[in-house]
């Protein structure tokens, strides 16, 4: 009986330690001390940022969804993956919360929704968010990376090395390429075709409020159609492929308009 009791205690202890470990791994986002020095009284809330992959107002459906771009070219999508990195929340007083080790690969093949959890955001009202579509040049040149930046995810160019920031592949009858394919790999972090884009989707009138021990949510829509819309209208008959270079640069400029905040729940 005594032994059984001991085993149960040991078991509980083990479960406890294991789950603790998991927690600490997930807790990747902390306040950058250079921005704001947390005090003992500092209180934190959680912020969830959810990205939803859409085509116009529809959920993206890989392979079987039939869509039309702004030029009225019909197309399907077989791959849609992109890096969201360096997430920053801003307060109206000019201070910022900078998420640390903030690298996320959103892959529609793994689901159309992706949630970034920031679990220690200092309490307060935040009126803006910004992030990078792509991977900052430093991480492109800092040697072998791990986590979301592991090159095994196939988002890394082997011959002109660096990350592919956004990968969209599909088909369109308008494409003149072999098998009517569409292949757009946006990447490159040097001039003249630097494809890193800072994205500042507006919050509108409502603030994101981080409250002690509570969780707030920001919903962001990623509209794939915007890739081909403006300022440069993409016609698949002329442009069906771009791997870095001028085409990728032009589409990256369009991608700045791809993200919009659809709701904030405090």
């Amino acid at each position: 009986m005594k032994n059984l009791f001991r085993i149960i205690i040991l078991g509980l202890f083990l479960i406890n330690t294991l789950s603790c470990k998991k927690d600490s791994v997930l807790k990747e986002d902390v306040v950058d001390p250079s921005i704001e020095i947390p005090t003992d009284e500092q209180k934190y809330g959680s912020v969830k940022i959810t990205f939803s992959n859409k085509v116009g107002n529809e959920d993206l459906l890989l392979n079987n969804g039939h869509y039309m771009n702004a030029n009225s070219d019909s197309f399907t999508v077989s791959k849609f993956k992109y890096y969201i990195t360096n997430v920053v929340l801003k307060k109206s007083d000019g201070t910022s919360y900078v998420a640390r080790e903030s690298y996320h690969l959103i892959d529609s093949n793994k689901g159309n929704k992706y949630t970034i959890v920031l679990d220690s955001v200092p309490v307060g009202n935040y009126n803006a968010i910004n992030f990078i579509l792509g991977v900052d040049s430093l991480r492109n040149t800092s040697g072998a990376q791990t986590g979301a930046l592991d090159p095994s995810y196939g988002m890394f160019w082997s011959w002109n090395q660096g990350y592919i920031f956004l990968m969209m592949e599909g088909n369109s009858p308008n494409s003149a390429a072999f098998n009517n394919t569409l292949i757009f790999h946006l990447g490159g972090f040097t001039q003249p075709y630097n494809c890193i884009r800072k994205i500042n989707p507006t919050f509108g009138t409502s603030d994101l409020i981080s409250s002690d021990g509570k969780t707030s949510t920001v919903e962001i829509k990623t509209d794939l159609l915007k890739m081909f819309e403006s300022p440069s209208l993409i016609k698949f008959v002329q442009t069906s492929e771009g791997m870095g270079g001028a085409v990728a640069y032009t589409i990256a400029n369009n991608c700045v308009n791809m993200f919009s905040v659809t709701s904030i729940q405090n």
């Binding site: 040697g143 072998a144 990376q145 095994s152 196939g154 082997s158 002109n160 075709y193």
Partner: protein
């Protein structure tokens, strides 16, 4: 009787095991062997193994990976297939790299040494970091034709590698990051700085040059040294050295998309140059003599031709002999025979 046969069986088994272990024994590498040393006239290295702490175990793991065809899709090609130690880790007598299924690559396998002092890799500088460089040949369909995911899966299923990764990085999970860092712990250790030239620089009284080598050095400095800058014998720049009128291989342009980079390739180090034939990015020249003829009278005029070469380089045949005598002093047999790097 039965007992005896069991003993015999066990003895036989032991022997088999022992044999297997024997054949796998690595040459002994001590902690001191992985300490890096270079002469004080070398510049500060670009790569300092920051975030990649060197150890004997990491070095041995990297060495096993370097020589293991497991990195290729059909398990036939290793890094060592195209980078052979006896020719300073170039590919002896091969114009172009050889990949899986006898596929031919498009460029000549470069020699590997003094990589700590290189900012960029490949003939066109397409790799910007030594730890990322191995991804190039692993993924190239004409070279190893693998995926990073595929390599990591194969390594993870291999008990020997699980043990080696555990020893090197104290982890049970094999990642591409650790694999790449381990390869660099090995390949980044290739330092070639023990040639006769180095011994001459360090102590000319005890290690004198012959008259012809001395003249060759002076001529070299005058005619070749502005690009092949001592002590590394490269300035790590990209230049069009007048090989072609029409660029089949656009070279550096492929990376930068800048027109002025058309037909430019990295200036290679001339250390060990006597060993690393054939020459140029496509291995078109078999001999140093052909290289001299090119610079003497073969320069093709194009818009991106390096200004230093617009009139070619005038070298008499007597001078050529002396420069070649000097170039031979750049051969580092201590490096090419270093047992730490031996397959």
């Amino acid at each position: 009787m039965q007992k005896i046969s069991i003993y015999l069986f066990l003895a036989a088994l032991l022997q088999i095991c022992a044999c297997k272990v024997d054949s796998k024994i690595e040459p002994i590498v001590t902690e001191d062997d992985v300490v890096l040393r270079w002469p004080d006239y070398f510049p500060a290295p670009i790569y300092n193994f920051e975030g990649n702490k060197r150890s004997k175990e990491g070095f041995l793991l990297g060495k096993k990976l370097f020589y293991d065809p497991i990195l290729s899709s059909d398990n036939t090609i290793s890094c060592g297939s195209c980078h052979q130690q006896f020719v300073a880790f170039a590919h002896a007598d091969h114009k172009l790299s050889h990949g899986v299924e006898n596929k031919l690559g498009v460029r000549n396998s470069p020699a590997l040494f003094n990589l700590m002092w290189q900012k960029e890799f490949f003939w066109d500088g397409g790799s910007k970091h030594i730890e990322l460089q191995p991804i190039g040949p692993i993924l190239n369909p004409l070279e190893m034709n693998e995926t990073i995911e595929g390599v990591v899966n194969k390594l993870s299923q291999n008990a020997a590698y699980r043990t080696l990764f555990k020893a090197a990085f104290n982890t049970d999970s094999i990642t591409s990051q650790l694999m790449l860092k381990a390869i660099v712990q090995f390949m980044g250790s290739f330092i070639s700085a023990n040639s006769r030239y180095d011994k001459f620089v360090q102590d000319p009284a005890r290690n004198p040059f012959t008259e012809s080598e001395k003249n060759g050095l002076a001529l070299f400095e005058q005619k070749c040294g502005s690009c092949h800058v001592p002590p590394l014998f490269t300035d790590n720049s990209y230049r069009n050295n007048g090989l072609d009128e029409v660029f089949i291989d656009s070279g550096r342009y492929r990376i930068t998309n800048i027109n002025s980079d058309m037909g430019k390739f990295k200036v290679p180090s001339l250390r060990n140059v006597a060993l690393t034939y054939p020459y140029m990015h496509d291995g078109r020249f078999e001999t140093l003599d052909q290289v001299f003829n090119h610079y003497g009278s073969g320069i093709k005029q194009t818009g991106t031709l390096d200004p230093l070469l617009s009139n070619g380089i005038s070298i008499t045949s007597a001078e050529k002999g002396q420069i070649i005598a000097f170039l031979n002093t750049l051969t580092d047999l201590e490096f090419t025979k270093d047992l730490r790097f031996k397959e």
